[in-house]
Amino acid sequence: MPNKPAIIVKDAVKRYGDFVALKKINLSIQDNEFFTLLGPSGCGKTTLLRMIAGFEDVTEGEIFLFGEEIDKLPPHKRPVNTVFQNYALFPHMNVRENVSFGLEMLGQSKSDAMRCAEEMLELVRLSQFASRKPAQLSGGQQQRVALARALAPQPKVLLLDEPLSALDLKLRKAMQLELKHLQRETGITFIFVTHDQEEALTMSDRIAVMSDGEIQQLGEARDIYERPRNTFVADFIGDTNLLAVKVESISGSMVQCLLKGGQRLKIAVNDKIKIGDSLHVSIRPERLFVSDVDDSRGTLRGTVKDNIFIGTDINSLLILDSGDEFRVRASNSDRGNKRIYAPGKQVFVTVEEGAARLLVD
């Protein structure tokens, strides 16, 4: 048996009065993992994180840290640290005192704690700001102090609640890399909360996609992106085309689906489905090819409505004969290629093999 999981959340429920914030959450997070809780605002990410940190009690269920039940312990007895969304740096202490605070509370002598704080500050490249007060730092620097402060006591698990959401885009990208790097370097398990799917895909070993207090899907980034389990996940992660279809016939591993306008699409079976079911199919825009000749494999017919230049790519908006809107993404380097057609032109769309995915709910 490999190492015990860093965190196990077992049948955890959180209710505020009548309101159910989390419905029976089950999670197992491995040691050394960069794990992300991803979901829209209000889905319960913070609540789950605060339950692990000890700021919210668990209405039902249990939480284990390396096999030890921690859900009844007060926050200061849990060897996990948090990077708060607003950083919560102590305004009356300077940067060094902030970073050494946890170590001193753990009983280290002041000089040891200070020395360790200096090392942490070096790690986040803030040594020259050690004597400043938090208010004298920029947002990105405060962020790194918060990180150093939470890492200094060498927690078993680090919790990060949307730590990058207050930063501007460029700084956010840089911090994403830095965080990932720090996680590798320290070997500490990170549980990272974000509502930004791109951020989650970039950084995570595994992602739990949440909505309405439930985990919709849990898996590796690529897995979730390519094999979303339901329409929520398909829609929330990345860009996708969702088409309503009806199951016409099933033969072996392939399903024949009927679109609204009478066109047909062959898709791989992926779930318990039966003939006559009304389902959705999700197709990522970058896995479609447009052509102006019907090569007989060309399954869908439509008309180009618009082409939108977005830097690296060009998004083409099509109207299928079924009436559905359809987005196709082509790399900008394909410009010389024939795949970008003028608005009004009739085109045929080929779906890359295995790219269409049937979703039951």
């Binding site: 640290n81 102590f90 946890g102 007060k133 208010a135 006591p153």
Partner: protein
């Protein structure tokens, strides 16, 4: 930035009204201050500048009486303000950090109500209370009464300061292995300090200055500065009273200014 249209200064008579109000407020104080330096026993005719009445306060005939009264006043004010501030600090912590408990609004009302009750009512009630439990009147009865009525005054700045402190600081402290008590002493208390000092100074001034309640609950022969001044004034206003008043005024201004500056200070530096 008020728009031109609603610029209050544009109303007719604005300047005159302002000057009138300021005169009514400050002219009496100014006259007292000026005449405390009058080189004459008269309180109406100016006869030149002198320090004689200030000297009189410290070494004159009535100086022993005033010194004792001042000593009483300061001792009572320091103890009353200290005790009231400690009580107010814990009340504010319980009220603001205690979560949403039942009767919270009622509790807040109960704490701040004394500010709105006419002081004479409080005075009579306190006197009746002391009488009914057979408490001997003297310095101790004054002190207890002062502690009681100072609490709401020190509570307000402390609670106001505390309301502005997000509770994530304490959460962060607990997350970093501080117990609840350590989070309070190492994080919350230092952050509240400006409010606490401001509350202390306010309570101190209120206690130092109190006349009505003190006059009711003090025992015979025990005087604080305000009651001593009142007693002296009954025998006719002499310029030495003006000198004492001016010193008290200066002291109060310093304290109130300090209280204001401290409550405004933040941890940005």
């Amino acid at each position: 930035m008020g728009s031109r249209k609603y610029n209050i200064r544009a109303y007719p008579g604005f300047i005159h009204l302002t000057v009138l109000c300021l005169l009514i407020l400050y002219l009496p104080l100014a006259i007292v201050a000026v005449y405390s330096f009058n080189n004459s026993p008269s309180i109406v005719v100016w006869e030149g500048f002198s320090w004689r009445w200030y000297l009189d306060v410290f070494i004159g005939l009535e100086s022993a009486k005033f010194k004792l009264a001042a000593k009483n006043s300061f001792i009572i004010a320091i103890i009353a303000a200290t005790v009231a501030t400690v009580i107010a600090t814990f009340s504010a912590t319980a009220m603001i950090r205690g979560g949403r408990f039942r009767l919270r609004t009622v509790s807040f009302g109960l704490i701040s109500l004394p500010l709105m009750v006419p002081e004479i009512v409080t005075a009579v009630a306190t006197l009746i209370f002391f009488n009914s439990i057979g408490f001997e009147r003297g310095v101790l009865s004054i002190l207890l009464a002062h502690i009681a009525f100072c609490i709401p005054f020190s509570y307000l700045p402390i609670a106001a300061r505390m309301q502005g402190i997000e509770d994530t600081y304490e959460e962060a402290a607990q997350d970093l292995y501080a117990t609840k008590r350590q989070a309070f002493t190492k994080i919350l208390l230092p952050l509240m300090m400006p409010g606490i000092i401001s509350g202390f100074l306010l309570a101190f001034i209120i206690s130092l200055d109190d006349f009505i309640i003190t006059n009711f609950v003090k025992g015979a022969g025990v005087e604080t500065l305000p009651t001593a001044i009142f007693g002296a004034v009954k025998q006719g206003i002499k310029p030495n009273i003006m000198a004492i008043s001016t010193m008290l005024l200066a002291f109060s201004i310093v304290m109130v200014t300090l209280s204001y500056l401290i409550s405004k200070s933040d941890d940005k530096t």
